[in-house]
Amino acid sequence: MAQAPFSTREQVDFVVIGSGAAGGIMAKELSSAGFSVVVLEQGPHLKAGDFKHDEWGYDHNENLAWGARQGHPQTFRKSESDVAELSPRAALGYAHNVGGSSVHFSGNFWRLREIDFIEASVKGSIAGTNFVDWPITYADIEPYYTKVDWEVGVSGLQGPWDPPRSRQYPCPPMPIKSPGVLLERAAKQLGLNPYPAPVAILSQPHNGRPGCIHCGFCNGFGCEVNAKSSSMATMMPIALATGNCELRTGCTVHRIDTDEAGNASQVIYWDEDGVEHAQMARAVVLSANGAETPRLLLLSESAQHPDGLANSSGYVGKNLMFNGYSSVAGLFDEEVNGHKSIPATRVVHDFYELSGELGFYGGGGIDSRHLSRGTPMGFALGGSHFGGPKWGSEYKRNLEREFTHSAAFDGHTTSLPLASNNVSLDPDVADKWGRPALRCTYMDHPDDIATMKFFYDKSLELMEAAGAISTTGFYPQNGQDGNVHLLGTCRMGNDPESSVVNKFNRAHDVPNLFMVDGSSMVTSGRGQPTMTIMALAFRAADNIIQAANRGEL
């Protein structure tokens, strides 16, 4: 077989579009199995040495996430009857770089549980929603969760509510921080069961990577020592070392072509200089994330596929789920210093499934954090946090105290799948390439908002039990206007009429096209979807390799 680099006119075995949480795993698995793989990534190949504690660069300039400034505007509206308006910041947030958002995420790594896969049949359907069971169960995915634990690298300790695992975590939990102590003590007082947060950050050396140095810049930042288990740090180096994988950065895919038989035949993209190329492939893996994956399918419409590629169900882009959230902060007598080390060290999962007697569907978890991510600029912009002026001498005094003496308990909750929450092509706004911009339509279901309120109230109760002198908090009671969890937009299912991919991530309509990323998720889980995105990718890759070896691709 030919070695990388490949010619675009050479039919490689796989083109993988996107190198993020899922794409990195697909590239590594397929190339390690001996297949020729071309990975197309929009962003640059940043590495540990490129990252800094740079709030202005990442938050204001959007150096990682990209937005209108970089030529990628997005629009947002709450309802399909509204005209979407330009979002001040990308409503559908994700990073443009090798490793995708696994580079700058906070690293919280909750597995889904048995209930997540069968919840609709256990709880019953919910009128007006597309709430259904997954076509797979926890037992189907468990071996792949364990593969993520060990190959990607996860630190943790099996908790009282965790689903069964076939192997223990490779790394012990991260050291507890003061916000974690405050949550643990408060939760115990209330008769709850706090335990160490599982994270994709190494507490000790693993697979040739070092343990975390606790610098505190995880959420929104790239790890400067490769202790965070991103696809960039863990999967892409292995893929590239096989000699079977070619990574092309700065490449923006705008179309997947199909042949007369309806199979994906080539991937059309622009390189960094705007030159168009067409890469031929035997099969295409689309791992562009829950926003860009449906967008690319919709952009790939043709006479054969008038509503977009792989969209005979009409479900491409639909059922977008964000996960809900709430945040409660407390001010304490003694030093908390939540800005040191990783975001979350303790979780409370006693409310994973809320009782039906409450009158709404929902569930989630609470973890301990620092206020405003613990980074100085973001923290100061939000101050005074506990009442008081927003500028002047008293503001200064408040910041001095609040930065080192506060903790936050954050809720992470379910989102119901709704056809009216979706990703589509904006009819009026175009990106720098002239393609229709991403348009997001989203309004949280009333049950989702009730769930966020439940977690807000519960976190407040915990914060008071923790002994906070003063508290403050927020949940999006009028609905969210954006998120970084982009789930459900090419859902998996057994029925081609109500799903886009089958239970092994293969498009129902296009036999050699696979959508592998957050778009496959049928339900939202309780937040922290990356663990599941990665496990689904390992599972899809396993199946694709078996199919290819049987000559079925």
Binding site: H53, W56, I176, G220, P376, M377, K396
Partner: protein, 194 residues
């Protein structure tokens, strides 16, 4: 969870929808003259700054010094916030610069209306605070507040936060590595063997 920068979002929201023209209707000739004088001087630049004119620099410096004042501890002045503002508006940021100029004009207009002064920087500190207090809920104030705080607490390489004065102010030590215990409660937890 979502990595959100709510403050920035509100900054962009507030500055993106600025109404055309002044929000205070100018009625008296004296005020008009004062504002015109300020306007004329806005564009002169003798290279103290890369982007800002001298008078813009002087005005923004004065505003920043009220938002994060110098008192028992250093403030925006000592941190060189004005050099941050000048630097970040230099680099292909016409839109943001235009918003800052508009904000400045509105602050000057309020100064003129309240104290018959052409420049905010000519007012006494209590007068300056009165002007800013009156404008506290406007997008114009949000714009200058955002830039001042960003200049105080962003990496020094952007021009502000000189000697990491901002970090020291809030007890943030920009170390690249920490080891437990991090705070009082986890030290106590370890002591008690919880």
């Amino acid at each position: 969870m979502a990595s959100k920068s709510i403050s920035r979002r509100s900054f962009l929201k507030s500055t993106g929808v600025i109404a055309k023209g002044s929000f205070i209707v100018l009625t008296t000739p004296a005020l008009l003259a004062a504002c015109q004088r300020a306007e004329e001087n806005l564009s002169s630049n003798d290279a103290t700054f890369k982007t800002l004119s001298n008078i813009e620099g002087k005005e923004l410096r004065a505003i920043a010094a009220r938002i994060i004042p110098t008192d028992e501890t250093p403030g925006a002045e000592e941190a060189g916030v004005i050099y941050f503002i000048d630097a970040v508006l230099s680099d292909d940021r016409e839109d943001e610069y235009a918003r800052v100029r508009l904000a400045l004009r509105e602050i000057q207009t309020t100064s003129a209306v309240k104290f018959n002064a052409a420049y905010f920087s000519d007012l006494t500190a209590p007068q300056q605070d009165e002007v800013l207090t009156e404008m506290e809920s406007t997008s114009f104030f949000a714009t200058v507040r955002y830039l001042t705080i960003a200049g105080m607490f962003s990496l020094p390489e952007y021009g502000g936060n000189k000697d990491k004065i901002g970090y020291q102010l809030i007890g943030f030590n920009d170390a690249h590595a920490w080891a437990p215990p991090y705070g009082f409660y986890d030290a106590d937890y370890a002591d008690k063997g919880e």
